[in-house]
Symmetry: C2
Subunit: 361 residues, 2 copies
């Protein structure tokens, strides 16, 4: 396997939109949400092991979750778990990661992987990522994997591409768009020019550093300085904490990708879903004849339709006359919420925090 | 306190209508359903301790629950826990109990108490039961406590009385009626002649034995013979098992009370409810401004009305857009059932038994 290939699995999120299953102390990526015997993080790791040498797979996470990562991926060596000093958005995190990887291998080509995604056709997936690696090794270009929409989904961001591919199946990006309303999502899909933004990026280490230096010059100057002046990793980390927290909270898409002119979409169709919200999880999973998705538990269902039901393993759910509900039973919280109203979860979480304290978060 | 007063607390039921909170191995009467720190059995025991000498309070239960009774009522001596050899309905159980108590005290006056009832005004309650004791001590009559209806309840049986009290507040029974439909319940209530059948009976030991001998002669002959021929209690019990299981399944009301002509109602108003079903429990308990009853747990409620929510202590229930539901989370079962459809619970329980085995019963 190509020794210049690297993978960074982003596993620092708190997954608040999947509360109460995803908890501050135990976010979704560390849980076996699909009930398949492996956690989302483990599934992701397994997937990239087919493309990238094991020793080149790094996991970026918050310091609070470092032990969980090591526990779930015991093959990782000490240097493969990277602590994000604080939640500062994707741009500082990926910039820091690029600088770090350059110290390991200045020719590195890197895939940025998300730890909460479902991929159905792994063979196609391996093919797309491999082509991406080859493309960025030969071009000073950034690649984002775009998924061909299968429905007018309103829960994903979209990327519009230029009509004709530049090289093979890599399309130049025209615009990034936020999650659209349904009417727009329909237009996007029908146009054939829009793809779901998967959040999977592929780039050469020097290309991303150069591009970031252009759009976030102050942050990159600070980082480059630290890496130049403090070659020892542990010393650098101690110093880094302080500086890192001074960076502005910035997302990669908004502060870099949408502004750069060397961004390309690798268009893909491999059965993909982001397990970011209960709604996406419901949309993704197989349903019984009445439209119910049941995860982990046994159920007896009577006159009940279109529910997402998730209980601890071994528990029995009996539902009678229940329609269009999320029923999530996890540790010390049971949430029953109308499926369309899950935007409320943010408000609910806030109420929990204000009224009941941390033990339910 | 009058040494001739005895109390038998009936605590052998399985409480299947309160599944999944009430379990075969741990029925409702052994649980702190009201969240007050005492189980229903303990509350009942405390209540009767105000009327009957402690040493004269017996608990009748199934052999499987004898240890639970002793654990929850540690003051009971060995002889005070009576094992029902099998579920055979109330008539054989009370007949056996009467024969047993007669061996302890042939002048005993006995109150038959249910272990799953709520009483709000205990002072009035003590007064009614005490009057009942005095009445049956002086008359060869059987007393059933009748509760003045506060609403046209369809979940209780009713007793119709003769218009004028015979002595003090004891009315002669005209008819017992099964749980009525709503229209009838309304007529019953408006008539002023109908009372809820509380299932609380008071009688002198010889009166009940004589009355049972008239209406269940074969059963009583067998019992009397055993008590005459085998004076030793342990020996008698061994023999009794066999004979007891040969008795027909018979309810006291149908086989004795409805046929006897010496039955009187002690009319009462002390804030009473039978906690036999989720519906009665919901009807009984205080509600928040949206008509929700919450037992045991913390809740955050959003746009949710008229639910009964019961989770294990310390657990948080978040409900959003949930109306008219029973939400019962107990050990390895979560049940969400439309409140009006709880008759389905019997069917559900049957399905659980057939499809999933004993571990959820």
């Amino acid at each position: 396997m190509d020794k210049n290939r690297y993978c960074v699995i982003m596993a620092g999120g708190q997954g608040t939109r999947l509360w109460p299953m995803s908890r501050k102390a135990y976010p979704k990526q560390f849980q076996d949400i699909l009930g398949c015997g492996r956690t989302l993080l483990q599934i992701t790791y397994d997937r990239y092991c087919r493309i990238v040498p094991k020793e080149n797979i790094l996991v970026s996470t918050h310091v609070d979750y470092a032990d969980l990562v090591r526990e779930q991926l015991p093959d990782l060596q000490r240097g493969q778990v990277i602590h994000e000093p604080a939640f500062r958005g994707t741009a500082p995190s990926l910039a820091n990661m690029a600088c770090h990887i350059r110290t390991l291998n200045p020719k590195a080509n890197i895939v940025i992987a998300q730890s909460d995604q479902l991929v159905l056709d792994e063979t196609k997936f391996v093919d797309v990522i491999s082509r991406g690696f080859d493309f960025v090794a030969e071009n000073n270009k950034l690649v984002v994997v775009g998924i061909k929409p299968t429905c007018p989904e309103t829960r994903y961001g979209y990327i519009q591409v230029d009509g004709a591919p530049e090289s093979d199946f890599f399309y130049k990006v025209r615009t990034f768009t936020e999650k659209p309303q349904y009417e727009f999502a329909k237009i996007f899909m029908d146009s054939g020019e829009f793809y779901w933004n998967s959040g999977i990026y592929i780039w050469n280490v020097q290309t991303i550093i150069d591009t970031m230096s252009k759009y976030l010059p102050e942050m990159m100057r600070t980082l480059e300085e630290i890496y130049r002046e403090i070659p020892d990793r542990d010393q650098r980390r101690r110093r880094g904490y302080e500086i890192y927290t001074s960076f502005p909270n910035a997302s990669l898409d908004m502060s870099v990708m949408e502004r750069a002119d060397n961004v390309y979409v690798a268009v893909a169709e491999f059965g993909w879903a982001d397990i970011g919200t209960w709604e996406t999880l419901y949309g993704t999973m197989p349903k019984d004849g009445d439209g119910n998705v049941v995860l982990n538990c046994s159920t007896l269902k009577y006159n009940s339709h279109n529910n997402l039901i998730m209980l601890p393993k071994g528990k029995l759910a009996v539902v009678q006359g229940v329609d269009d509900m999320l029923v999530i039973d996890s540790e010390n919280v049971l949430m029953i919420c109308r499926k369309g109203d899950e935007k409320e979860i943010r408000k609910i979480l806030n109420d929990v925090k204000m009224k009941l304290g941390d033990k339910f978060l």
